[in-house]
């Protein structure tokens, strides 16, 4: 297996690892509001998230700044919880959030998730080699994994939309409810490590 493909597969496996499901959960709640027909917006959202986490992962890996990983692990479920609250708020009051605001949030929340990825990346990366190729291929693996997760999620949503009495509102409440509960549990669990 080539050096490039090794790190690409590590990025892909890391994001799709269901045991570390916080990143997956964030992607699901982030895209919960959008139907498959708005795939371009979803693509921009996922890309904004990727840009955010790529930037912070690169900065952390290059040692530009160091962060307290316990705080990052706590803040990751906070980003999920806030996204769920925004989803539920929009659904309840039938408001339409500005797309730009959502993209900016995805970017900012991506910065936090990237610092979470950096812990794993630091453990598998040796500082005796150039960081460029491992970082690029690891990030590419993360991006591919994210797009696969969102695609599966959107296809599931599309299939459910064919069921009579299924409504977009129910879906958003269902996914955001799960996200809210799980992120709250994660926050409580990780609070003790602060």
């Amino acid at each position: 297996m080539s050096f490039f493909y090794t790190y690409l597969s590590l990025g892909l496996d890391h994001i799709t690892d269901v045991q570390g499901y916080d990143h997956i959960l964030f992607l699901l709640v982030l895209s919960a509001l959008y139907p498959l027909s708005e795939w371009k917006k979803i693509l921009v959202l996922v890309t904004a998230f990727t840009i955010g986490h790529s930037l912070s992962l690169a900065c952390a890996a290059l040692g530009i700044f160091q962060v307290n990983s316990a705080w990052i692990e706590f803040l990751i479920p906070v980003t999920i919880l806030l996204t769920c609250v925004l989803n539920l708020y929009e659904t309840k009051f039938e408001l339409k959030q500005s797309d730009k605001l959502v993209y900016i949030l995805a970017l900012v929340f991506g910065l936090i998730h990237g610092l979470g990825f950096s812990n794993f990346f630091a453990a598998i990366y040796s500082d005796q080699m150039s960081i460029v190729l491992p970082l690029f291929s690891f990030n590419l693996g993360l991006e591919i994994g994210q797009l696969i997760i969102v695609l599966i999620f959107m296809l599931l949503k599309f299939m459910l939309s064919l069921v009579p009495r299924f409504s977009k509102q129910d879906w958003t409440i269902f996914i955001s409810g799960i996200g809210f509960g799980l992120s709250l549990m994660m926050m409580l669990e990780r609070f003790s490590a602060l």
Partner: protein, 174 residues
């Protein structure tokens, strides 16, 4: 429908709740002044679990400073599960030190350093064979990555060992 959605969310909420990273180790091999330098990175919790499964129930590597006993048992364990052959000849490696990297306190990493006892010459056509079964006893999903840096010119090579594929040895011809 909304009530049922929340009920289901609650069921999921109280179901299994785990947060863990992939089971992986990273070994980097470089060359300086004619000798091989080997750096092995293992997640401390995975190492502790593996040592327990091999009968060392009292050892715990999830701490800032390792004891002499921790290091001694670690060396014995690595000697059983990691080896290097060059052109069919086993290469002796000498333990330098083992330290704990606490950059991420939730997932601390044990960094173990070795150097080859003898000077080693790796050239074009050299055949390098590595055994890496670290942590395989306790982790069915364990993957071990070995990166060989600049052993011949500026070449970077990677070997991947997977427990599920029963990868014990990997061979590389430069």
């Amino acid at each position: 429908m909304k009530k049922y959605s929340f009920l289901f969310a609650l069921v999921v909420l109280v179901s299994s709740f785990t947060h863990h990273i992939l089971k992986i180790s990273n070994t980097t091999i470089t060359k300086s002044e004619g000798k091989l330098n080997i750096e092995i990175k293992l997640f401390a919790d995975d190492l502790t679990e593996t040592m327990k499964s091999t009968g060392h129930s009292k050892l715990n590597y999830n701490k800032a400073s390792l004891t002499a006993k921790d290091k001694e048992e670690l060396q014995k364990y690595i000697a059983k599960n990691f080896s290097i052959q060059l052109n069919g000849t086993a290469q002796s490696i000498q333990f330098i030190d083992a330290t704990t990297d606490l950059t991420d306190p939730n997932n601390s990493v044990i960094v173990v350093k070795y150097t080859s006892v003898n000077n080693i010459s790796v050239n074009k056509g050299s055949k390098l064979k590595i055994k890496n079964t670290l942590l395989f006893e306790a982790m069915a999903e364990q993957r071990n990555m070995v990166t060989l840096l600049n052993l011949v010119g500026g070449e970077i090579e990677v070997m991947n060992f997977a427990c599920k594929d029963k990868d014990v040895f990997q061979e590389l011809v430069y």
